[in-house]
């Protein structure tokens, strides 16, 4: 049930959507394709599903080359950002669609559909039309519909992109649990790094139609291979060629040999976290992330003179090494 895209390239007129991309999703994994819009991640997902034909390269699902096959014959469950609900059918009919196409007996369809509706927590909604559901409910229905055909792999294209923040948060947790229960090999496309880190066990970072880096969420955060990955996964300060995470900046009230003088411009309170916007003596700006108690004990306020020291930073462009500014 593994998925592999090998050397896939795809152009739309002059726009290179995918440039010799290789991506693997091992059996049972939940892999996120993460990147900015226009980075090629949705195109790759559609190529895997057979909704788009690559100019070159191969799509291999469970060890079988499926490159030339139409979407009907790929055994792939696809979930769209905007649900793609069949508006003229009830929730029941939507979920039953793939089974009816496969001419399954009515009793088996009924049983399967109600099982799935329970799984996605829509038991009482079988007779409703999609127009009568909330966005989150529609997307859960779409997921049940995709799961009904018992796909070898599940492909989710920005599945929570059209939902509001709170529902999105709930569905992420729910999806994570569902995946642990079902263990269907899944690829999720998202432009939200937090979503990718929260839901998936592997992240493929894509940009400009190429794979930038592949790894576990923590690995990418701690050892980004490029400037782009460091900037995309988590917040970052840039001082010339040097990149520093805001939580790696320490604020002190007294100088020691390696500190830099800075002024506090502004403090932003985000509950547990406090953001301090600073200006260095040479005029460069950066911001630091502290805990609430830290900010309190330092008695930080706008205009205050402080000394910053940088714990950990990265320089790209040269062979990656640890540097101190």
């Amino acid at each position: 049930m593994s998925i592999a895209a090998r050397n896939v390239s795809k152009k739309f007129k002059d726009f290179v959507a995918l440039d010799d991309v290789c991506v693997e999703a091992p059996t049972g994994s939940l892999t996120a394709l993460l990147g900015p819009s226009g980075g090629g991640k949705s195109t790759l997902l559609r190529v895997i599903a057979g909704l788009e034909q690559p100019d070159s390269g191969q799509v291999v699902i469970s060890g079988e080359d499926k490159t030339g096959l139409p979407p009907q014959k790929r055994g792939v469950g696809f979930v769209f950002q905007h649900y793609a609900a069949f508006k003229h059918m009830t929730v029941f009919e939507n979920v039953a669609f793939g089974l009816k196409i496969r001419k399954q007996p009515r009793g088996a369809i009924n049983q399967k559909v109600y099982e799935l509706l329970e799984l996605v927590q829509l038991e009482g909604f079988a007779g409703r039309y999609p127009a009568q559901l909330s966005g989150g409910q529609r997307q859960r229905m779409a997921l049940a519909r995709a799961l009904a055909i018992e796909p070898e792999v599940l492909l989710l294209d920005e599945p929570f992109g059209a939902l509001d923040a709170r529902v999105r948060q709930e569905l992420r947790v729910w999806l994570r649990r569902l995946h642990e229960e079902m263990r269907v090999t899944t690829i999720l496309v998202t432009h939200d790094q937090e979503e990718a880190m929260e839901v998936s066990d592997r992240i493929v970072v894509m940009n400009h139609g190429r794979v930038e880096q592949v790894g576990a969420p923590q690995e990418l955060y701690e050892h980004p291979a490029s400037e782009f990955v460091m900037g995309f996964i988590g917040p970052v300060n840039r001082l010339g060629q040097t990149f520093i995470r805001p939580h790696d900046i320490e604020i002190r009230l007294t100088p020691n040999g390696s500190t830099h003088e800075a002024t506090v411009d502004h403090l932003i309170y985000l509950g547990f976290e406090v953001r301090a916007e600073l200006t260095l003596k040479d005029g460069r700006n950066l911001w630091a992330q502290l805990r609430r108690e830290e900010a309190k004990s330092l008695e930080l306020e706008s205009g205050k003179l402080v000394y910053v020291s940088v714990g950990h930073s990265r320089v790209f462009g040269r062979p990656a090494e640890e540097v101190h500014p």
Binding site: A49, G50, L51, P70, P71, Q72, R74, V76, G77, F78, F80, H82, A84, A85, F86, K87, H88, M89, T90, F97, G98, I101, R102, Y129, P130, A131, A142, R145, A146, A148, I149
Partner: protein, 248 residues
């Protein structure tokens, strides 16, 4: 409401009043006239045939205009509205020139029932197309892709996903083209020859009655035509409500 009364309701009432002048007996006598019955029958049958053809061809043409791209598409698209813009008598003249006794195609269907169908098809061409076109263009393409990924062939996806979503538009286009067919006069009067019992449609019959000074006869048939049209429009709008039940 006052405007609607002035423009629509009062004239209709006048026709009703005119037809009721001879009492119920007179009305029945007028509409049971064999020539009137033949004309009404012909009108309704021809309209039905035209509407059925329009449903298929109109949906097909709308499909091509929305989904395919070809050279001159804009021109073809503009051409569709021509029957709207053309005075119907000019349409009749055109058809007579093309399919009449002096047909350059050697195809003489003047004074036959086929000519009625031809004329009606011409004037009702835009209705189904213009009703279906915007709906088809707005139709979520991802619905089709979802159907494909669930195993539906293109034909199955058309039948189970696209068609049900087009149905309300097809029905309303059908209703309009039916209404137009039942009342059409200008394009038919020249090419059919108006032979009683053979090619005389209701509107032409009504015109004939007025010419021969039988106003109440004309009014009676008009009222019957009105009632039949109304019933059919109501039936179609009922179907339409059923077709869009999921939107409420």
């Amino acid at each position: 409401m006052i405007y609607l009364s002035l423009i629509v309701l009062i004239p209709l009432a006048a026709v009703l009043w005119q037809s009721a002048k001879g009492g119920a007996g007179g009305f029945l006598q007028q509409v049971s006239n064999p020539e009137a019955i033949a004309a009404l029958r012909l009108t309704l049958l021809a309209s039905l045939v035209v509407v059925l053809i329009n449903v298929v061809s109109g949906t097909l043409i709308a499909w091509v205009l929305v989904r395919d791209s070809f050279r001159g598409k804009g021109f073809v698209n503009a051409l569709i509205d021509l029957p709207f813009a053309l005075p119907t008598i000019v349409a009749g003249l055109t058809l007579l020139a093309l399919y009449g006794p002096k047909s350059p195609l050697g195809l003489n269907i003047a004074y036959t029932k086929a000519a009625i169908i031809m004329a009606l098809l011409f004037v009702t061409l835009p209705f189904v197309i213009r009703a279906v076109q915007p709906v088809l263009a707005e139709l979520d393409h991802e619905m089709e892709e979802a159907a494909y990924s669930l195993g539906a062939s293109p034909i199955a996806s058309f039948r189970r996903v696209i068609l049900p979503n087009l149905l309300p538009a097809i029905l309303s286009g059908t209703a309009l083209s039916f209404a137009r067919s039942v009342g059409e006069f200008g394009s038919i009067v020249l090419i059919t020859g108006n032979v009683p019992f053979k090619t005389e449609v209701a509107s032409v019959y009504i015109y004939g009655q007025i010419q021969s000074d039988n106003v109440s006869g004309a009014a009676a048939v008009s009222v019957l035509l009105l009632v039949i049209s109304l019933l059919i429009l109501l039936a179609i709008s009922g179907l339409n409500r059923w077709g869009t039940r999921h939107d409420r």
